[in-house]
């Protein structure tokens, strides 16, 4: 696959904080690439550096579009951007704002209007096109903001926290829309902290914590790399001493959910049956549930490992 964005060792420091610390990654044409991390991990700073809104202290960022030489930025028409700090003109009819956004991204007025109406219709907002943005609910305003960032059909879209502010139903709708955009040829760089959502659509992820990369690859790759492979949720009668499980060879980590309920992360390729036999001989188990390891679990695990490495050094 052709690389369209190459980021090499970018670094940004604000005061005494390393907001982004030697981050490197490549984005390939057509993929959905996700920057994942908790709030304050350095995702938005990275995105702003990608857009040249702020400049890295060092490191390079290069785009490769249409077989041309590397450039620092794609053209306005090639790029779509949904910022984390969102805002549009509140007191102007929605359709006028969308037309303007399309025009400054290189569309002519007629095409911008057509594309705006198509998107408004897709998101059930066409009948409100002449209303002011301030008349819409927050969720609907968010939809308009999303439309403004993709209505010109960009080759590359950077979506910073696209799911924030949406209810679960709309989050699912936007998952579908992002997937559709990708299928139509738009390469997507997604920055988000809702790992369960990203897991559903991302081709590749880069996990960031404190400005540093702590893991990267496809979700399958990350799962394979991870020490734990399955999760076991056990419910007991009474409130037993969970230290029993801590020392078992099959157990990677335990988390207490509530009194009498624990989550056990099992090590890769370790037998579950032995653990259950031993446990049932000591405790009365009321229910057993198994779950696959999620991106969230991997992230927690990686952060823990990163902290341990830091402490050792």
């Amino acid at each position: 696959m052709k690389v369209i964005l190459k980021v090499d060792s970018i670094f940004k420091r604000f005061g005494k904080i390393n907001a982004v610390n030697n981050l490197s990654f490549n984005v390939e044409k057509g993929e959905i690439f996700s920057l994942l991390g908790p709030n304050g991990a350095g995702k938005t700073t990275t995105v702003r550096m990608l857009l040249n809104i702020i400049k890295p202290d060092y490191g390079t960022i290069e785009y490769f579009f249409d077989n041309s030489a590397a450039s620092r930025l794609p053209s306005a028409s090639q790029l779509g951007y949904l910022p984390e700090d969102r805002g549009l003109y509140q007191e102007i009819p929605i359709i006028r704002t969308l037309e303007y956004m399309g025009v400054i991204r290189g569309m002519n007025k007629v095409d911008a209007r057509k594309a705006s109406e198509m998107w408004l219709s897709k998101l059930d907002l066409l009948d409100r096109k002449n209303e002011k943005l301030s008349a819409l609910s927050k969720g609907n305003q968010q939809k308009i903001q999303f439309i403004s960032s993709v209505l010109h059909n960009p080759s590359f879209a950077i979506l910073d926290e696209p799911f924030t502010g949406f209810d679960p139903i709309n989050q699912e709708i936007f998952l579908m829309i992002i997937k559709e955009l990708s299928e139509k040829g738009t390469t997507i760089l997604l920055s988000a902290h809702q790992m369960h959502l990203v897991e559903k659509i991302a081709d590749k992820v880069l996990l960031i914590n404190n400005g540093k990369s702590i893991a990267s690859g496809t979700i399958e790759e990350l799962k394979k790399e991870n020490i734990a492979s399955e999760k076991l949720i056990l419910k007991f009668e009474g409130n037993p001493d969970f230290n029993f499980f801590q020392n078992d060879v099959a157990v990677e980590r335990i988390e207490k959910i509530s009194d009498g309920e624990i989550k056990i992360l099992l090590k890769q390729n370790k037998s579950l049956s032995e653990l259950l036999i031993k446990a049932s001989s000591i405790f009365k188990i009321n229910s057993i549930t198994t779950e696959h390891i999620t991106l969230h679990d991997i992230f927690i695990e990686k952060v823990k490992q990163d902290k341990e490495k830091e402490n050792e050094s």
Binding site: R48, L51, I53, I54, A76, L79, Y81, P83, D85, R86, G87, L88, Y89, Q90, I92, Y100, M101, V103, I104, R105, S148, S149
Partner: protein, 402 residues
């Protein structure tokens, strides 16, 4: 190719900014309100006078050879009586059936009996004095023409050493004064819109979306042009409002006129060019300042909006002596040139070379100011939570020129 694309974008932003604030409906309403106010003041006055058109009736007892004759327009009617009827006349006065009793004792003394101070006293006084003067002229054997000639003023013909307008009337001065006031208003309104536009976009976090699509310089250029044309449109509306006010007042006999000299098309073009250049200059300066403001409600920098008062207000001094040395110098200084030269163009003949130099200087200074404003704007517009200090701003500028 890139220049064309940039120019197109500047034009699109300018169009957006202009349409964002310019409301044709509001301008039409302003014109209608002006017409209505003029109609109300001057038409109303005329109607009121007609409604209160009651005739004044005065009883006159004339014991002299003074002949009192009043014009019909005065609406005062005189009724002759004898001194023996004074008691019955006083009764009529008490019952408000007549408005006064005028007793002329001789040509030097008269008595007026009234219930309250009369509004028509001056008319009576003036006409009695005229009648007395007639008698006195007759007695002194001097003809009326001779008397007029004695009191005639000496005629002084003004002969200018430099070529200039024959006469600058009060009308022209008033028009020039109104023009500066409206220009100042246009500048303030433009700055207010510029402040609201830029600080509003910053507060609504619109900046990041726009900056990812167009360069800060393109954005600020479009904003400056859009808001300057908005100021120009507002200025035109206010001038039309004044013209409508004067024309309607004239229909009701106000006697106000628009001086013919200021309707010269070349002068109008000149005023347009200097006004729009002035608006662009001020908007360029203030767009950079607005971008540095974090919160318009608390920032002290908002008060800088009053800055144009002094340099633009200086043009009022040109009304007194438009061709003074200081006014000629101020015609070239970019902060004062546009209002001062505009006033001078209305009041006097300004040499075309002076006009060209003045225009060239303001265009050149605006061009450099635009570059500096673009730099400040690009660094400030995404700076949330703090205002850059003046020292930081000057550092940015010095770095950008290195």
């Amino acid at each position: 190719m890139k220049v064309d694309k940039n120019l197109k974008l500047v034009f699109e932003v300018a169009k957006w900014e202009f349409k964002r604030w310019f409301k044709i409906k509001e301008q039409v309403i302003t014109l209608i309100i002006s017409a209505l106010i003029s109609l109300l003041i001057f038409g109303g006055k005329s109607i009121l006078l007609k409604i209160s058109d009651k005739q004044t009736e005065i009883a006159i007892i004339n014991n002299s050879n003074l002949e009192l004759k009043l014009d019909k327009k005065t609406n005062i009617k005189l009724f002759k009586y004898e001194i023996g009827q004074i008691d019955s006349l006083k009764r009529l006065l008490n019952e408000n059936k007549i408005d006064g009793i005028l007793i002329i004792n001789d040509i030097d003394n008269a008595e007026l009996i009234v219930n309250k101070e009369p509004a028509w006293l001056n008319i009576i006084q003036e006409n009695l004095t005229n009648a007395r003067q007639q008698i006195k002229i007759k007695e002194s054997n001097i003809s009326r023409e001779k008397l007029t000639d004695i009191f005639k003023q000496i005629n002084i013909k003004l002969n200018y050493t430099q070529q200039q307008k024959e006469k600058t009337g009060t009308g022209e001065k008033l028009a020039a004064g109104i023009f500066i006031a409206l220009m100042l208003l246009g500048i303030f309104l433009g700055l207010a819109y510029q402040f609201v536009a830029i600080t509003g976009e910053k507060q609504l976090r619109i900046t990041e979306v726009i900056i990812s699509a167009i360069s800060p310089q393109t954005w600020i250029d479009g904003k400056i042009i859009g808001i300057s044309f908005l100021s120009m449109s507002l200025l035109i509306t206010y001038i039309l409002t004044t013209v409508v006010f004067i024309l309607i007042s004239n229909l009701f006999g106000s006697g106000w006129n628009i001086p013919i000299t200021i309707t010269n098309p070349l002068l109008i073009i000149g005023l347009f060019v200097f006004s729009i250049t002035g608006f662009i200059f001020w908007n360029t300066l203030f767009s950079a300042i607005a971008a540095t403001i974090n919160d318009p409600n608390t920032s002290a920098r908002g008060s800088l909006m009053m800055a144009p008062v002094l340099p633009v207000g200086i043009a009022f001094f040109a009304l007194g002596n438009p061709d003074s040395f200081i006014m000629k110098i101020l015609s070239f200084f970019p902060l004062t040139s546009t209002p001062v030269i505009s006033v001078r163009m209305v009041l006097t003949e300004v040499n075309i070379i002076e006009i060209i130099i003045s225009l060239a200087l303001i265009i050149i200074s605006t061009w450099y100011l635009r570059k500096a404003a673009g730099k400040i704007f690009s660094l400030s517009i995404l700076l949330y939570g703090k205002e850059p200090s003046w020292k930081e701003i000057s550092n940015w500028l010095s770095k950008s020129t290195e």
